[in-house]
Symmetry: C3
Subunit: 339 residues, 3 copies
Amino acid sequence: MADPRFFSSSGPQRLADIAAVAGAQFEGDGERRFTGVASLQSAGPDDVSFLDNRRYAPLLAETRAGAVVLAKAFAGQVPSGAVALVTAQPYLGFARVAALLHPPVQPRPGIHPSAVVAPDALVGEGTEIGPCVVIGAGARIGAGCILHPHVTVGPGVEIGEGCRLHANSSVSHAILGRGVVLHPGARIGQEGFGFAPTPDGRFETMPQLGRVLLGDFVEVGANSCVDRGSQGDTILGPGTRLDNLVQIGHNVQTGRGCVVVGQAGIAGSTTLGDYVTLAAQAGVAGHITLGTQVRVGAQAGVMHDVPPKLDVIGSPSMPVREFWRAMARWRKLGTERDG
Amino acid sequence: MADPRFFSSSGPQRLADIAAVAGAQFEGDGERRFTGVASLQSAGPDDVSFLDNRRYAPLLAETRAGAVVLAKAFAGQVPSGAVALVTAQPYLGFARVAALLHPPVQPRPGIHPSAVVAPDALVGEGTEIGPCVVIGAGARIGAGCILHPHVTVGPGVEIGEGCRLHANSSVSHAILGRGVVLHPGARIGQEGFGFAPTPDGRFETMPQLGRVLLGDFVEVGANSCVDRGSQGDTILGPGTRLDNLVQIGHNVQTGRGCVVVGQAGIAGSTTLGDYVTLAAQAGVAGHITLGTQVRVGAQAGVMHDVPPKLDVIGSPSMPVREFWRAMARWRKLGTERDG
Amino acid sequence: MADPRFFSSSGPQRLADIAAVAGAQFEGDGERRFTGVASLQSAGPDDVSFLDNRRYAPLLAETRAGAVVLAKAFAGQVPSGAVALVTAQPYLGFARVAALLHPPVQPRPGIHPSAVVAPDALVGEGTEIGPCVVIGAGARIGAGCILHPHVTVGPGVEIGEGCRLHANSSVSHAILGRGVVLHPGARIGQEGFGFAPTPDGRFETMPQLGRVLLGDFVEVGANSCVDRGSQGDTILGPGTRLDNLVQIGHNVQTGRGCVVVGQAGIAGSTTLGDYVTLAAQAGVAGHITLGTQVRVGAQAGVMHDVPPKLDVIGSPSMPVREFWRAMARWRKLGTERDG
């Protein structure tokens, strides 16, 4: 059960409406009402639950959930009294049910008196500017946004409609599309890491004169960093999602729908095609290219270009199949006896 | 010597009192006074020092410290003129002496006029709310806390007695026990990394409807992140300590007294028993279980369940003994000549 | 072209002046004017570009740049109509041209009315204190600094002349030299990770009574962390640069001009000589010493002392040459057939 101190509820919803948002078929009384969502183990008769991973299928027999979103293959295992909500995409369907029953927070339009908004900044209609937010000269914030406390928006920044900038995040030298989400402490648009050594052993900063462009619906995780370009821009394609503590160097460019999991990093001037995924703590060197749908394993270190659709792992990385074969033999080195 | 600009002093303390807090035996004048603590190399006659690591034992002969907290085995090596403070736990004893001579900062009760506290939020007795702190609707802050500048506390959050929230940290969707410490920039309770792909190649966010529960005396390091649960809660057991830049995914649960060193990460829905330790930059995959007192080596990558009390290392991880044997043979590949 | 919303321009500059700051020789009309800088691919006739990496030399033939800073060896390949600006240090020369054409932001002296500055804090002449900055009791800020929004400066902190503290960064228990830069969200001076286990299974914090000393022109990247010393100080030598999300443990000391790339970490009490470089995601264990000019490869894990000028890589690390030989043989394990 979602804690009502933290999550609003839309009140009881009709099964027919729930099935509609889930894109699911069901048998039974469409007027039956449900109030919440929960896991198979903790759900009660007024909750909707889901099954997406076949390893959890054994939990179906004992669930007390009133309804379960799942694939057709498992529909027969739902206990009597529970409704099977059958769909080809149970995870997506359940996400939509959860959002129906617990709608996301909406902006409370207005600018908090403690916020510091430059006189020439533009704030769109219906946007909420929270306490202690600071917005620099000439910045433009779209309609329907929420800027949470202690957000810093630098001069000239443009933010599209419906964005969410969470507490203590900062953005400068950047243009954000629609529906962009910055989680708490995310850092967007700061100077990249570039400097020239001098003959007498000092470093001089290379001016970083580019920007960050975040496509529509990009999300940047808590305390993650996206540096602005040096010449030219750092670009995250539409729908790209970064988890927490991710590092994106200057002039990186990603395609559409890339996914970068926690603590992974991409060094400067590297290019990712569409739908590339980096697992946790992976690293990608600078000035290389990863093709469409490449998948990089956890803790991998990628030093060279990777062709489309290849899965790589290891540090330095290699194709997954070769890695596991080598690793199996390597493990033997640790268990077999000498000669 | 602790710099008086940054650390208060309780003034000279009697040797007898120092020995009492250290739980140590000594010979000599219990009225002798000491004013500070310092390392063996930098201590002077008015300072108390300590020896905990035998590799530093050779420094004893030349220390100018007035007293040294140490184990019985080394007491004979203390120079004449210095007092041996003998205890079975020298490191713990010294920690208590240091806290006696330089007491931790205490709250200066009150709410700074620049803070923004929701009218229905509750702030406990003796609590200090610093400049530019923002506290959301319905939040409850216990007695004797300090909230440093620019802390953001979201709506409905509960914080126990005696907590310390350091500068620029943020917490939402969370319940904190007593004595919890959030170091600067720590991020608690933000949305976990969960989304469902749609048939047309977009991602939809899975509503994250759980909370973060931090047990008594949990500490979270600077810029570390603890995501809230998706269904159900993310839970850190009492006394668990996270170093800086650590990532804790949604629905992780740890037991009592776990230790996670800098830049390590734990993926979603993984469970740790009591007193598990993760060394720096280690990573643990999601949906697995690490038993009580498991120790994970630096930079290790754990992909499967680990039984209690096993030490593992490597990426992917394996038992320590096997790892080092395999590594020794692997290194030979780098040094021996071909065939 | 630098976006004028984010970067100021000094207006057209004479070729003679550009060459002078670049330390470059040229042939042609010193009165010709240039307005911007850009990459070889995107530059136009009014832009200065550069060539530093021989792999990009083929781009010279087709560039539309009006002038190119480069080494003598490539001067002959500059298209007719473009000016070759010949220097032994093209990257450094170009950095200075870029700074001439797009001068860095200068402080707008004054204290924003929303800032909270302790009555006994000192703020130097010409320094800009931005919105919602908080400065603690007894702190001293040098002349010509910029403190961006939501910066927290703790009590007693000293900051030298010409420093830049970017948005949402925090500093306590620290003394900063001249020209220090803290990027957004950097955390300086918080408690290190030290505690003593008690016999009954709790942890007690070891008071962290040291400071952080940042030498002149040190830079700390976005969301990076530098913990203060426990006894004694954590010290970063002059000119040392940390990239984003870097972790520096208590009592680490670095020499002059060290470079630590993104997501790398150094555990407590380790010492680095001058000009040591750590590549991305590398880790260095505590209580060890890395000699002058040591270079640590990406994702390496250094567990033992490294003598000066040695390059190491791997986890655990070994000399580079040995690593690659072993790795080549290891890869064979993944590709060759059994028996």
